[in-house]
Amino acid sequence: MTDPAHLTAPVVPARRPPHGAPGPLARLKATYFPTPLQGLLTVVLGALLVVLLARLADWAVVGAVWSPADPAACSADGAGACWAVVAEKHRVMFFGAFPYEEHWRAALACLLIIAAFVVSALPRCWSPHLAWLWIATLALALWLMLGGAGLAELSTSDWGGLPLTLLLSAGTVSLGLPLALVLALGRNSTMPAVRLICIGTIELFRGLPLLAVLFMASLILPLFLGEGVTVDKFVRALVGMVLFFGAYAAEIVRGGLQALPKGQYEAAMSLGLPYWPMMITVILPQALRIVVPALVNDIIRAFKNTSFVAVIGLFDFLGATKASLQDPLWVRHTLEAYLFIMAVYFAFCWAMSRYALWIERRIDTDRPSHAP
C-alpha cells in the first residue's frame, strides 16, 4: 500500500542551498591556507617534503642499479639503490629451496590461493558452498606443491618463500574459521562439558603468545602422538597457527552471534526450525556478515604472523629472503631486498585492509534496518 500521491507531492518546491558548493580552489585554500600561520606551515612542510622526495627519487630511481650483471656497480661511488639484488635473487626470495624447474608449480599454487581469497571476498559468493571452493583449491595447491600423479614428487621440506606463506595463511584461515564457528557455538552451548572445553580452548590460546603456541605445537604435538611418530614441521606450524587464529576468530564470531537481535532466534524457533538448520540458514549468515570486517583484520594478522614460523625452522617469504642474502656477493645490499619484500607484504595487507573498509561500508548500507 503506497502512500496516496497527495501525501508525498511537494507543497513547497525544493531549492538549492544558499551558499553554492565551494569550488576546488576555495576548498584548497580552506584546507591549506586558512590563516597566515597555517599557510606558512604548509609552505615549510611542503618544501621539506619536496626535498626529501627528491632525495628518495635520486636514490631509488635515478642512481639505482637495476641490472645484476655486475654486482660491483652497486658498490661504485654515488650508486643509489641496488635493485639488482632483487633481480638476481627474486627466484629464491619467492620460492625458497623449491627446485628451480618446478617453480611454475609453486607460482600456480599461489595464484590459485589468491584467486580463492578473491572469490571468497565477494559478498555475492558468500554461501556454505565456499567450503567446496576451498577444499578444491587446497587439494589442487597441495598436489602442485607435493607432486605425484604425473608431477615430480616433493616434500614440505622443499617448500619456502611466498608459496609457504600463502599455504600457511590459506590453511590457517580455511581450517581456523570452521574451528572458530565450532568454538563460538560451543561456548554458547547448553551442555556444560561442551561449553567448558570450548571456553578452555579459547582462553588457553588467547592467553599465549603465538611464539609460545608454535613452540608448544612443535614440542608437545610429538609427545601426544607418541615416540617414533615424526610430525611434519609444516603441519606443526599449521596446527599452532590454526589454534591461535581459531581462538581469536571464535570470540569475533561470538560477538556477531550476540549482536543479532534475539527476535531472529525466536522467529526461527517458532517456525519449528531445529537448532542446526536455524544456525546454518538464519543465524550464522547474519552474524558472520556483521563480523566480516573484524575477521578480515584477523586474517591480515594471520598472514603477517606466518613469518613467526621461522623460529621452528621453516623458510617463509621473509625467511627465504634472509637466507638468499647469505651470498657474499650481495650481502651488502640486504636493505633493498628487505624493502622489496616489505612492499610485497604491504601490497597484500593494504589490499585486505582496503577491502575491510569497503565491505564495512557496504554491509552498513546493506544492512536492512531492524524494526524497533
Binding site: 500500500m1 527476535g263 522467529a267 524457533m269 517458532s270 538464519v282 547474519q286 544492512r367 536492512p368
Partner: protein, 242 residues
C-alpha cells in the same frame, strides 16, 4: 474441540511470579484477545503456548499435544504460528525466501511447491509484487503482513500475535488489523495480545484480562467493555480508551 488448554500454569522469572494459576481454554476457531497493563505477563503467557518460555508448574496442551519434552515442543511449534511485535523477518533473505525457508526445511515441501504456496499467499495479502525484495525495503506494515504470511505458510492450527501493531506507524496499523480480522473471519484459532480495543470489540470472541500474572476476567467483548466486573478492568479501560 479445544485448541489450547492451560491448567493451573505457573511460571517464575527467578523470584518473580509472572504467571499465577493460569487456567485458560481456547476453542478451535475462536479469537481471543489478551489485554492488561504493562508487565502483567501477557507476552509471557502467549510465549508459553509455543514453548518459547517453559512453564514451571501446571499442564499445557496446544493443538492436541501435551507440551512436555523436546519432541512435543517440536510438534507444537510446527502447528503454531507466532507473529512478533518487531516482525523478526530474516533480514538477509528476500521475502520469498523468508516464506519458503521453514516449509522446505521443516515440512519437507519441494522448492517448487513452497514457492507456489508463497506466491498464492502473498497475492492474498496484496504483496505479490514484493516477493523479490528484502525486508528492509518494505514499510513496517508490509513487513508485518509478510511476517503473518510466513506463519500462514506452515498452515498452522493456532496463530499467536504479540502486539503485532505496536511497532507500526499509525497509518499502517489498519492494514495489519484488516488482515488479522480476515483471518479471524475464516475461522482460524487466534490468541492476540493487543492494545487495539477496537479490534478486541469487533473481532474477538472473548477478551482475557490480566493483572500481575493472573487472569482477572474473561468475557465476550460486549460484556467485558460494557459491564466490566473488576475495578482493575474499569481503571484499565479508562486508561486505554481515554
Amino acid at each position: 474441540m479445544t485448541a489450547i488448554t492451560m491448567n493451573q500454569v505457573n511460571k517464575w522469572f527467578g523470584a518473580l511470579h509472572v504467571l499465577r494459576d493460569i487456567a485458560l481454554t481456547v476453542n478451535q476457531g475462536e479469537t481471543v484477545v489478551v489485554c492488561g497493563p504493562s508487565g502483567s505477563g501477557k507476552s509471557t503467557l502467549i510465549r508459553t503456548l509455543n514453548a518459547l518460555e517453559p512453564i514451571d508448574q501446571g499442564a499445557l496442551t496446544v493443538a492436541g499435544i501435551r507440551l512436555d519434552g523436546a519432541e512435543a515442543r517440536r510438534q507444537v511449534r510446527r502447528r503454531v504460528g507466532m507473529v512478533f511485535q518487531s516482525f523478526n523477518l530474516f533480514t538477509h533473505l528476500r521475502v520469498i525466501d523468508n516464506l519458503t525457508l521453514a516449509p522446505e526445511g521443516v515440512l519437507g515441501l519441494s522448492r517448487h511447491a513452497a514457492e507456489a504456496r508463497a506466491l498464492a499467499l502473498l497475492d492474498r495479502v496484496g504483496l505479490a509484487d514484493q516477493a523479490r525484495k528484502f525486508p528492509g525495503q518494505l514499510s513496517g506494515g508490509q513487513q508485518q503482513r509478510v511476517a503473518i504470511t510466513r506463519t500462514l505458510m506452515m498452515e498452522p492450527e493456532v496463530l499467536l500475535f504479540d502486539e503485532p501493531t505496536s511497532a507500526l506507524d499509525p497509518e499502517m496499523v489498519h492494514e495489519v488489523l484488516h488482515l488479522m480480522e480476515a483471518l479471524s473471519r475464516e475461522g482460524r484459532t487466534m490468541v492476540c495480545v493487543t492494545h487495539e480495543m477496537g479490534f478486541a470489540r469487533n473481532v474477538a470472541d472473548r477478551v482475557v484480562f490480566m493483572v500481575s500474572g493472573s487472569i482477572v476476567e474473561q468475557a465476550p467483548p460486549d460484556r467485558f467493555f460494557d459491564a466490566p466486573q473488576s475495578d482493575a478492568a474499569r481503571t484499565f479501560m479508562a486508561q486505554v480508551l481515554h
